[in-house]
């Protein structure tokens, strides 16, 4: 057993070394290429089958009947709504989706003061795409 602490050299070196800390808000964190970040949904490909919602372990995807009509007469389609605050980023939905309508991304800075910002509902544009795509059919409610 030696009497002199082993770390003495390393600690002396550390004084002149640059700190290992990454000052996050000032410097963006680099993430790996395949990082599982925020999910994106492509209205064009979605068929509203609901497999994603069925397989989602945390209930972050809900299939909700949404009024996609642009006219007075309401038309409802069952579309996925993403609750990012529940998402555990396992990407089971990406895997389960038969038409690859859910896209992965590496976006990781999701924090928000408002819970509403963390819910992804189909936008008006996406609604019109859906409306065009499924002119006939779709559950009425």
């Amino acid at each position: 057993m030696r009497l002199i602490p082993k770390l003495i050299r390393e600690v002396m070196k550390n004084i002149v070394r640059k700190p290992a800390t990454l000052q996050y808000p000032k410097v963006a964190t680099k993430v790996a290429k395949g990082f599982r970040g925020k999910l994106e949904w492509i209205a064009d490909k979605c068929i509203g089958c609901g497999l994603c919602a069925m397989d989602c372990p945390s209930g972050a995807i809900e299939l909700i009947p949404i009024n996609v009509s642009t006219t007075e007469k309401p038309e409802y389609r069952r579309l996925p709504v993403f609750h990012y605050y529940r998402c555990i980023f396992c990407y089971q939905c990406v895997e389960s989706c038969p038409t690859k309508a859910i896209l992965p991304s590496t976006v990781y800075d999701l924090s928000s003061y408002d819970k509403e910002n963390l819910i992804r509902k189909p936008s008006d544009e996406e609604k019109s795409i859906i409306l065009k795509k499924f002119k006939k059919g779709g559950g009425k409610k």
Binding site: I4, A20, A32
Partner: protein
């Protein structure tokens, strides 16, 4: 001297998860220790019975965040056993790689925590700084730093490309150098040795009596390792050493972990170099026929057992999980007695406690050692008592 009740927890700097230990101390000497588990009971086993097998993968991952790869490997294996399928060879190798990366990260975490509990903050910071290397690797291979979500029923979800493999090998050799340095620190540093050598001695006989598992058993000269004794994934094809030490003290348990980290680096390297070609997963099967299956895995903290009963359909009938900390905790409670207050954190950290894993459902009457089933109402009544 009067006896003081020293209560550790549920909130205490030495405990990183809520759990309660009641110590009776005379001066500095602990005369009695009582663990009281159950603060992080989350009803996970019941949740398994309400979620499909696919959701279960991610649920099992959340039993323990640190050894999540071990939990998913075990879960997927138990479902595969029930289905009677075997994942393709490449998947088995990939599973091994992620499992071992997970072990490296878990052991380095523990070694850092051990340094912190001994009051050695610098070593803690430095180990955790170098642990980032393996965290980055896990992110590169699986897509997240901690939660791997890598295994699935019948294989794995991602493949490793040659570039990634090359990066892994490069980073691992850097990491190996660092781990070897820390091995020297743990081996030679006088203050660490004074705090850990011959502290919390668990003789081999006691270790067998209390059925301790994992590094705790191997630190007490009990030569058990599920990876070798009951090989799963690709462990039957990969050569590796089981590290056993016979000092039986806190220091030996820490050294087992340091050496296992180096061994794990070698395993990953071997697996990356000998990665077989082919499919990485079988087609998804959602339903499981009526069956009963068991799976054992050597998690970083010791032997992990899953027991599945299926009555057909897409939802398990019952899934029982036995985590390593539960096996080790009772022995640890004995270890405290006769040691000083200062040794409490050292001993506690040497069992690498993961209380979130431990707290599921067991109700044991300590007075007559009977396992009882009680209703929720009675449980509430007892808690009030």
């Amino acid at each position: 001297m009067s006896v003081i009740n020293l209560i550790f927890g549920p909130q205490h700097p030495a405990l990183h998860e809520p759990e309660l230990f009641r110590f009776k101390v005379e001066g500095e000497i602990v005369v009695k220790a009582e663990p009281r588990i159950g603060y992080v009971h989350r009803g996970i086993e019941k949740l398994f019975e309400r979620n499909s097998y696919i959701r279960g993968i991610y649920l099992s991952e959340r039993i323990c965040g640190i050894c999540n790869a071990a939990h998913t490997v075990c879960y997927c294996q138990v479902v595969e056993n029930a289905l009677g399928i075997e994942p393709p060879p490449r998947a088995r190798y990939l599973r091994t790689i992620v499992h071992e990366l997970n072990r490296i990260h878990s052991h380095l975490l523990l070694l850092g925590v051990a340094a912190e509990e001994l009051g050695f903050d610098t070593l803690f910071m430095l180990i955790w700084r170098d642990r980032e290397l393996v965290m980055d690797l896990i992110e590169l291979v699986t897509g997240n730093r901690v939660m791997t979500a890598f295994n699935t029923i019948g294989g794995v979800r991602r493949d490793i490309t040659p570039e990634v493999a090359e990066k892994c090998i490069k980073a691992l050799s850097k990491l190996e150098e660092r781990v070897k340095y820390y091995r020297k620190v743990f081996e030679e540093d006088p203050t660490i040795r004074r705090r850990t050598v011959e502290v919390g001695v668990l003789p081999r006989k006691e270790a067998i009596k209390y059925c301790v598992v994992g590094p705790m058993a191997r630190g007490s000269a009990v030569d058990v390792d599920i990876r070798r004794d009951w090989p799963y994934a690709a462990y039957d094809e990969i050569p590796f050493n089981v590290i056993v030490r016979d000092e039986c003290d806190v220091w030996a348990r820490l050294m087992v972990r340091v050496d296992e980290t180096i061994e794990a680096i070698n395993i990953v390297r071997y697996a990356l170099e000998h990665l077989p070609k082919g499919e990485i997963r079988l087609p998804l099967r959602r339903a499981v026929p009526p069956a009963e299956a068991v799976s054992r895995v050597e998690a970083p903290r010791g032997e992990l057992i899953y027991h599945l009963i299926s009555k057909g359909g897409t939802i398990p009938y019952r899934l029982k999980v036995r985590t390593p900390t539960l096996a080790n905790l009772l022995a640890a409670a004995k270890l405290f007695e006769g040691n000083t207050i200062a040794d409490i954190p050292a001993i506690l950290v040497s069992i690498d406690p993961c209380f979130a894993c431990t707290d599921r459902v067991t109700l044991i009457d300590l007075k007559d050692n009977k396992v009882k089933r009680v209703s929720l109402r009675e449980l509430a009544r007892r808690c009030r008592k």
